[in-house]
């Protein structure tokens, strides 16, 4: 599956920012541990495939209207992903045993309406998604570190002295 991540970096200029983002993306795709591969928006094909995001540039200032909106949406998706995983985990710990979670199977006699609410085949993935490592559904990164909280986001948006804050969009596959 594909998702659109935002790499936020502190840099002197666009060129340096893009280089830093590439380094971060290489780290995030290393060994296919978190993502299998990436493409940045200097790739025309990628840019054209994201029709809803036609305003995106390969590098944007985080404080520009487009950069700001792009980051805000990234945080919104991150929170939505967290909430969805949280609900699944809540159901899992309420209705499933350790073995049932590990083996991805419903307990005998679990009512159908509850079964329908639990995505059993992906149940461990939801625990994983609440974790602090990179990967889906974390849409925002400070270099290669996932931005996990509002506090992290506020911190990264404060530029270091002499540097500007940039956001680089990238399509990643997982």
């Amino acid at each position: 599956m594909h998702m659109l991540v935002r790499i936020i970096v502190h840099a002197e200029d666009e060129k340096q920012a893009f280089g830093k983002a590439e380094k971060a993306l290489n780290e995030l795709t290393k060994g296919e541990k978190y993502f299998d591969g990436y493409a940045t928006f200097d790739n025309e094909e990628i840019r054209d495939s994201y029709v809803d995001w036609s305003y995106l540039q390969p590098v944007m200032l985080a404080s520009s209207p487009n950069g700001k909106h792009f980051i805000e949406m990234g945080w919104k998706y991150t929170v939505e992903g967290f909430m969805e995983a949280f609900e699944q985990v809540k159901l899992a710990v309420q209705y499933l045993s350790l073995e049932e979670i590990m083996e991805r199977k419903y307990p005998e006699g679990l009512p159908e309406d509850i079964k329908k609410r639990i995505n059993i085949l992906s149940i461990q993935v939801y625990f994983d998604e609440l974790g602090n490592q990179p990967g889906h559904p974390k849409y925002l990164y400070h270099d290669h570190e996932p931005i996990l909280s509002n506090e992290d986001l506020e911190f990264v948006l404060k530029p270091e002295e002499g540097l500007k804050v940039y956001v680089i969009p990238a399509d990643v596959h997982y």
């Binding site: 985990v89 350790l98 461990q124 609440l130 490592q133």
Partner: protein, 181 residues
């Protein structure tokens, strides 16, 4: 049961299907290169040589390769499995408490636990909760990574049974390794 754990080290047990011990060790090296890269440690040793083991002061001594069906092989695999289950159980217990007592916002922002009972506070820590979720998710930092089939982690009994059922003409071997953590 004798325990094969060493402080500050993970002892992954890699199961491979091979014609003989020599092929098993070769396959295992390919798998371990990938495992070490994925665990971001990039360094490991097997029990073929004691050079690094002695340098790291690892006192555990094991044969470099064992048939998975041998007594010692079965013991090594079962011990890894039991240890994984324990780690999984502990983490699951903490995640249960977390979703029971905390809001999603409190977990995300790693907020202090406020007026929860001392009993709950002793069990969960706001900074560690997301790490516990990760363990249950099967992507924890170290301890859930004790059993592999090739370079793939074994995270369920079903995975383990599959790893132990070797194809015709091949045998299942288990190869212990050491990765510093």
């Amino acid at each position: 049961m004798e325990t094969h754990f060493a402080p500050h080290f993970v002892l992954p047990r890699v199961i491979v299907h091979a014609k003989n011990e020599e092929e098993a060790l070769k396959k295992e090296k390919e798998a371990l290169d990938k495992i070490a890269e994925n665990t971001e440690r990039c360094i490991y040793t097997t029990f073929e040589s004691r050079e690094l083991l002695d340098e790291w002061k690892v006192e555990v001594n094991l044969p470099p390769v064992l048939l998975a069906s041998s007594f010692k092989g079965r013991e090594l695999i079962e011990e890894g499995w039991q240890h994984m289950v324990k780690i999984f159980m502990d983490a699951l217990e903490k995640t249960k408490l977390a979703v029971q007592y905390l809001t999603p916002e409190q977990i995300m922002e790693e907020e202090p636990l406020g007026n929860l009972s001392e009993e709950v506070k002793a069990k969960i820590h706001p900074w560690d909760i997301r790490e516990d979720f990760r363990e249950v998710g099967g992507v924890g930092e170290f301890f859930f990574k004790l059993l592999y089939f090739g370079s793939r982690r074994i995270t369920s009994r079903r995975d383990l049974v599959r790893a132990l059922n070797s194809k015709e003409g091949l045998r299942a071997y288990v190869i212990p390794a050491v990765i510093p953590c």
